[in-house]
């Protein structure tokens, strides 16, 4: 799907960011173009989730320097809801439970906010129900989940499927899926992965943040990046993920050490 003439969707340059006064990202560079699937791998604490939260505009994370551009527009001044509306989607590692708020209503309000941005008509309750029922099929979810409170009492797998359902409804331009594969059994992983594949469009892109190769068996990435200590330290193709799976992160450490010594 990639071609050299593809438009850039996301460009991150020398991004430094902190949370609670502690700098976590130490200069991240990343370029994502239309049609691309990127995987970001790395140890716990390497800054992968922080990067996703910073792109989505979480108020607890502070950008110290660098830039994030979405289709050429600087998004650092945009509120999280504005980023979402222009097509940036964050699939949460731990989707939040919101007791008392109906999943159906939440999905409808969210979908309509995005549709408004796309100059599409807002959907009333009945129209939305038709749409959501059709999209439920993508993640093989039961309609009963719509009647429950947002993520409340959902199993780990159900929560992740609900995230992909939101992705299906919001039709984002770029989806950053933070450990969408964690806590999933093999069947759920397949359903989630097939959902992500089905939702890929030539003019959209996906960033998968993951620890494991197994998700990448289902979704073939164009680029694999390894993050360590708040930076992307290595970029390669899907074979990099396979090497990593074989040799573990020590393989990266050794490589890095070798480089440092050579310098």
């Amino acid at each position: 799907m990639i071609s050299s003439t593809s438009d850039t969707i996301l460009s991150i340059e020398d991004l430094h960011a902190s949370v609670e006064e502690q700098e976590i990202l130490h200069g991240v560079n990343l370029l994502v173009k239309e049609g691309e699937i990127h995987a970001i791998m790395g140890r716990n604490g390497s800054g992968k989730s922080t990067l996703s939260k910073v792109v989505a505009g979480h108020p607890s994370y502070k950008v110290l320097s660098g830039s994030i551009k979405f289709k050429g527009i600087d998004i650092l001044e945009l509120a999280p809801e504005e980023r979402a509306r222009i097509g940036i989607f964050l699939g949460f590692q731990y989707p939040v439970e919101i007791p008392g708020v109906s999943n159906l209503e939440f999905l409808r309000v969210a979908t309509n906010s995005r549709r408004k941005e796309l100059l599409k008509s807002e959907l009333d309750t009945f129209e939305f129900e038709d749409l959501v029922k059709e999209r439920l099929k993508i993640v093989e979810m039961n309609a009963a989940f719509l009647e429950r409170s947002v993520n409340e009492g959902f199993s780990g797998g159900e929560k992740k499927r609900n995230e992909i359902l939101q992705m299906a409804l919001l039709e984002p331009v770029i989806s950053i899926l933070d450990e969408t594969d964690s806590g999933l059994d093999i069947d759920a992983l397949r359903i989630v992965a097939s959902g992500i594949n089905r939702l890929s469009r030539p003019n959209s892109a996906t960033i998968l943040i993951t620890h494991y190769q197994r998700l990448l068996n289902e979704i073939t990435p164009d680029f694999v990046h390894i993050m360590a200590d708040g930076k992307i330290i290595k970029t390669g193709n899907k074979d990099l993920a396979i090497d990593l799976e074989k040799s573990g992160y020590d393989f990266i450490d050794k490589n890095n050490k070798g480089k440092e010594m050579a310098q």
């Binding site: 964050l90 008392g100 309000v109």
Partner: protein, 416 residues
Amino acid sequence: MKSSTICQDWLDSLPTTEGCLKNEQSIGREFLLDQGMPSKKDEAWRLSNFNKLNSFLSLPPIIDNEDIKSQYKSIFPEKDVNRERIIINPKQNPNKNINLPNGIEKLNNKEIEENLGKIVKSTNIKNDISVCLNQASSSNLLALKVKSNFNQSLEIIIPSIEEKSISTRIFLLIEEGAKLDLLQIFLGNNNSAQNHLIEIKLESEVELTHGLISLGEEKESSSICTLAVEQSKNSTYSLHSIHHGWDYSRFEPRIIQSEGEASTIIKGLQVTKSKEQIATHSLIRFEGPNGKLDQLQKAVASEYSHCIFNGSIEVPQKAQKTEAAQLSRNLLLSKRARIDTKPELEIVADDVRCTHGATVSQLQDEELFYLLSRGIDNKHANSLLLKGYYDEVISHFPKSAGKWNFLEKLIQDIKK
């Protein structure tokens, strides 16, 4: 002005004792003459805003119908087809001109004499100011019974009169095996005061679902309400209440399971804004074994307002195998708002399961971010979260209660 003088003036403004509640009026007035108003030293009133309480007393009671004719023009939403509606028109005998459905009857004098005042007395509250204020001033009584094995729905609306104070007294007897779905609505008005004393007796095998919507919609309205309920064996009582919009409100639900072996569910919500003070002082006592209680009290305080909850549960020796759970959950939305919550469990019986807990929190940032990250704007996201917070109480109201638009008010009035 001193509160003792205000109380004296208030007593002087009352009409002479008369009518079916003459005896009660004398009891209340004598007590107030003797004891006066409470002070900060009275534990049950310690946190009460006395300026607001004094304002409550400074409004004149309604003396005759001329007072209300010009102002009594509230328009209410249409009544439900299956729910009989009673509007309590102050100073008019509520027992006149009401249509009672099959299965609900007025109590006769003998029944009134046998029952009135007994339940509230059995709650044994010392210096029972809320009750005495009502006794002293109520001149009419709505006394009804739901006949044995009937299943009925009833709506009782009590509007307020601008610049006036009203007192209402209600007694309901629900006979063995009957079911009642009761919805009560208290409505405030500009500079108005309401005082209610409600007694409800549930005979055995009775099921009462009681929704109470108490909305002080306008400026400077206040409300004091005592609700005394006696539950016989195998009865089920569920109370769902909302208090909002009153400058000063004090709600005292008191439930006595007279033989134990009954089930009580209480879900209360109080939501304050501006400089309002809304308080709930509940008492649940088990006078026999195997009683059950599930109590949830929620509060949301914004701006400079103050919410108070005091929840007493008494489990004496004879109330073995009682299972009681009380939870107070509070949302503090402003640095200047205040929430006081106090569980008070007095457990003597040794084979019981009683739990209690209290939390005070703010709207969760992670919940808010989750909604924002889906493109929902801040205002709408906050509304959704508030609605979610209210849901545990509001979802228990009958669907038709929605026509009173309380949910919209509860969301719109609260600025985060």
